[in-house]
Symmetry: C2
Subunit: 331 residues, 2 copies
Amino acid sequence: MDKKITLAHGSGARATRDLIEDIILKHLRNPMLDELNDSALFELKSKKLAFTTDSYTVNPLFFPGSDIGKLSVYGTVNDLAVVGARPVFLSLSFIIEEGLSLNDFERVIVSIKEAKNNAEVEIITGDTKVVEKGKCDKLFITTSGLGISEYSKMGSISIGDKIIVNGAIGEHETSIILARGDFKFKANVLSDCASLWGVISKLIKSCGKIKFMRDATRGGVGVVLNEIVEGNSFGIEIQEDSIPLKDEVKAISELLGYDPLYLANEGRFIMIIDKDEESKALGILKSSGFHDAVTIGSISSIHKGRAVLSTKMKGVRILDYPYGTQLPRIC
Amino acid sequence: MDKKITLAHGSGARATRDLIEDIILKHLRNPMLDELNDSALFELKSKKLAFTTDSYTVNPLFFPGSDIGKLSVYGTVNDLAVVGARPVFLSLSFIIEEGLSLNDFERVIVSIKEAKNNAEVEIITGDTKVVEKGKCDKLFITTSGLGISEYSKMGSISIGDKIIVNGAIGEHETSIILARGDFKFKANVLSDCASLWGVISKLIKSCGKIKFMRDATRGGVGVVLNEIVEGNSFGIEIQEDSIPLKDEVKAISELLGYDPLYLANEGRFIMIIDKDEESKALGILKSSGFHDAVTIGSISSIHKGRAVLSTKMKGVRILDYPYGTQLPRIC
């Protein structure tokens, strides 16, 4: 019979210790985590550091192509990567709903292990809380990350800079919509959830004129473009027919009336780079496995403070900064 | 009319930005947090760092003497302090239940501001998620902390070392039991929630022979004592009549059948120190406002691997390492 998480697992007493040793340390052990001290102590050679945090509240916990475990590692790794920092250490804090299957919890931990090995980071400190049934959505994970800055400073954005995305968009959110089964159709769409540090480390080694990077998670590419232009004396113009989109994502978006530009991604980022380095950057992205990486537009002197889309019909549409989301919560 | 948190506040779009600017940045702003970047970037002079994380899930959010805001700052500050690290930077990640009053959320943020000013730390990065009504217990806060180690290394625990607690125990958990109103009595008990870095920084400056420090949170003093002895070739003997206890906590514990040694604290820590430095340490604690600080026992060569209590009746009781908790979840 599948065992369940109980409130005792969150008591701080023996049952908590057993859960940590039998499941968490079993898969994630390293000398610092093994200490189970109040804080992990360590030395870092670099002085310039990056620090970030994110809570992962995705439902369902497992979805095509990924799960909350990988998401909670890669999401935080990517928040370090896009500021040009090599991810080094993570903390993980679990809030678990009473009644969660211990097998499911262990599946998540195993997935975290694969992701942290792949991203070459260590989990060095953590916390585990259990709340009553109905007080949490199965499992929430909050991951904080510590990285070492490897890019001196991003340049200032200028007119003519190119805007690149590293692959087809909207697949993460589409995979979750499909996994929920609220809509009665099936399609083969996998989450794009992935660590971006590998490719970003190559980009920052070769390109000296990167102006901006941000992973297009909640709110998608559309919100990131608005964050870039807001209050600035430049605008953004992107070409509709350049936006990389898988057929299935396009079809589902049309069917449900969603704009894929606002769908969440977990392995896609927007990069702004001097036009002199556009082809070099695209070459690095493609040779790193991001075959659909493409320039989607550029920084423009017109449409100040706005992001606009040049449509296939030669029209121009302003890309809103939406108030909320177009979809049920997915994170 | 009191406004409420909606799912739009967690969308990552305009409503999220408004919530961050109108409430979070309004009270917590500093140059790093203002950037609203994916990660905060900074330089730290020291190489030896401490990193910790904790999720705060207390119900109710507000209770006599404190609230989830202060708790989420001091709890993490204390986890850094007890390893001898000066708390410097915090991250805050909010998981908010749809429908939470915006006024209550702002009250929590104002409380966080007071606590971070008092503890002399800065909140430099964060995240905000909103989940549907019934998927969270009003508000969960996960705080990670980064500190600079200021104590070279704790010594090894030896027979004869003294065990000190910095004040009367059990007041935090008792205050929450009372605030919940599940039991039909009233008493004036305030949470002991407080930052410990101030006094610990004095202790580590003056005492060279500290062997161990741990804040006695979930599971209380009883669990900490068990964590100290487990698997070790020494034991712990504490004297029942030396345990500092407020009359109200004693009365409520007797009435409800709880052992105060296992009640959670948020401003109490256990310190093990060489007997040569016992009186110096007690002097520092008392002169720092912890008037009830006291030696409760010592490291003993008998009872190996066990913590035992010498009772007022000259008996000896083994202090269990309990499996779960004696009480409803409070954190």
